[in-house]
Each structure stands twice: as C-alpha cells, then as structure tokens.
Subunit: 155 residues, 2 copies
DNA sequence: CAAGATTGACATATCAATCTTC
DNA sequence: GAAGATTGATATGTCAATCTTG
C-alpha cells in the first residue's frame, strides 16, 4: 500500500526553501530598517517616498499616482505623508480635489545624505555575497512570482 | 580618461534585481496576510506563533525560547501573546520568573483549519511557478544572505 | 452621484522604561 | 544586582467610514 501525501503539503526541499526565504526576508527587512533609522533617522518607508519624489520632475507627484507606483493603500500613503509633512520632509499641495506631494529641500538633503550608506548596506548584505548568476536568478524568480501575484485575483 | 563610478552605486542588473525582489517580497507578504485574514481570521504572526507552539511538545514553549526561535523582540512577543490570549488562542503559564505559552484547543483547531488553504496559497503563488532548480537557487541565495546577516554586527 | 481625499478606530512593531524574582 | 517579564509611549499599517468637489 503506497502512502498518500495530502495534496496541500509542500515537499521537503520546498518547505526548507520557504523557511529560509521567509527568515531571510524578515531579517533583511529588519536590518535595513535599523540601518536607515540609526544612520539617517528615516524609516524605510520614508526613504522609499523620498526616493520616488526625488526622481520625479520638480520633486512633485500626484498622491494617487504615488500610491499606485508604490502599491500602497491610499490611506496608508495619506498617513505617511502627514507624518512626513510634520517633519518637514515633504509638503502637500491641493488643487481642487487633487492632492500632490512635493519634496522639500530638507527632504532632498535627507534622502541624499541617506543614500550612500543605505546602498552600501544593501550591497554588503546582498550583492557582495551573490554571484552575477545568482543576481540574475533572484531577478528571474522575483519576476516570476510577481507575475503570479498580478494575475492572481486581479479583481 | 576613464569614468569613475561612485563605489556606492549598484550596477544596472543589481539595481533591477533589487527592485524586483523588494516588490515581490512586499506583494507576497500582503497576499499571504490577506489570505490568512480572509479565510481564517488570523494574521500571519498569529499563524507563525500557533505553528511553532503546535509543533512543540505538549503545545507549550517558554516565551523566551519562542522569541529566540522567531527572532522577535521579547516585547513584541509579549504583546502578541497578550492579544492571542484575549482571543483564546493560547494561554499563559507563569512559574516564578519564567513565562510559558501554551496553545489551547481553540488555537490548535484554528491553526489546523488554516493550514491547508495557507499552504495551498503559498504553493500556487510560489512553488507551482518555479522549477525544482529555482527552488534550490532560492534556498541557496536565502541561506547566503542569512549567513551574512548573522555575521553582520553580531553584537 | 462618483472619484478621490481625509479621518478615526483599531491592530501591530519598536523602544525605553519599570517591575519581579532568583 | 541581573535575567527575564511587563508596561506604556510612539510609529506604522489596515479597514471602514465620511467629507469634498467636479
């Protein structure tokens, strides 16, 4: 009599890979969060918003567009912008029912000051340790999973 | 005269891989969170704690040990256990200055009810889309990065 | 009315205390 | 005193309203 494995179990290698991936992903997030906070007094979300705005023409983006690019709930973005406003990193501009976020000089300075150490940190933790081939593999795997997430319940 | 690239810039492929990885990782987290919440009324952290306890002898672990295994701040774990207690998923046991968490019958039932759909979700999003080779690559990459995180400022 | 913005309530994470027991 | 547990303050994320303006 053959043993029957439930259809919903992962195989051994899959299970091992999943645990490693989850742990890596969580530790990496934590390490990056801490580095940015300690060295630059920014959260990774602050940094993400500043980086997006700094690359936009005139450092200015429509809030709705920003929330789409970052794939954030509109209310998450709103709260985040409120906090960043309070700290002088960005400013809001409202035109009728349309809302914009603009990076301030202080925000640009903070982002530029934070970038080298942040990039260096990512490099040391990730890219200095992986071969060019592995970097390519990571990109391929990420793209594949991402494609699945997009087609999954596209709403 | 050769152009000099700042030492802190990532290369094109590295930068592309990093963006894809970050986006994949965030979307995957969100999707899993939503699936667990919708189908089983559990957060992914609830599920993680329940899974750890359910595998422990007698469904019981020392809080300190649990926080080490999960690599969580002790106070994060404490708040989490408090919330899970309130919902009847676990119970606390205090012996002197030592604190334990025990899974309840309701907690075990919730975890067992949640597991199949959760596993199936992970499989559909990740493992059904990757080749065996890619699963192995993901494990290797994760292990490598994790090793770096461990030796990095080990405190 | 409907798109988009805003708000508030609640869940979660982190940090810096403080409390407890050996 | 110190290991470990607990607490509270603050930052962040999600959801379900409500408000505003075309």
């Amino acid at each position: 009599v053959a043993t029957v494995t439930s259809a919903t179990e992962l195989t051994g290698p899959e299970s091992a890979a999943w645990r490693l991936f989850m742990q890596m992903q969580e530790s990496l997030r934590g390490s990056i969060e801490q580095q940015l906070q300690t060295d630059s007094n920014l959260s990774s979300t602050d940094y993400t918003v500043l980086a997006a705005l700094s690359e936009a023409p005139e450092g200015r983006m429509r809030a709705l567009h920003l929330s789409q690019v970052l794939q954030w709930e509109k209310s998450r973005l709103h709260h985040q912008l409120t906090r960043m406003c309070r700290r002088g990193l960005i400013e809001r501009q409202n035109e009728g029912r349309t809302s914009y976020a603009v990076i301030t000089e202080a925000g640009r300075a903070a982002q530029e000051a934070a970038r080298p150490a942040h990039t260096e940190h990512v490099r040391q933790l990730v890219f200095d340790r992986l071969t060019d081939q592995q970097v390519q593999q990571l990109a391929d795997i990420s793209r594949t999973v991402l494609n699945g997430l997009r087609s999954d319940v596209p709403d």
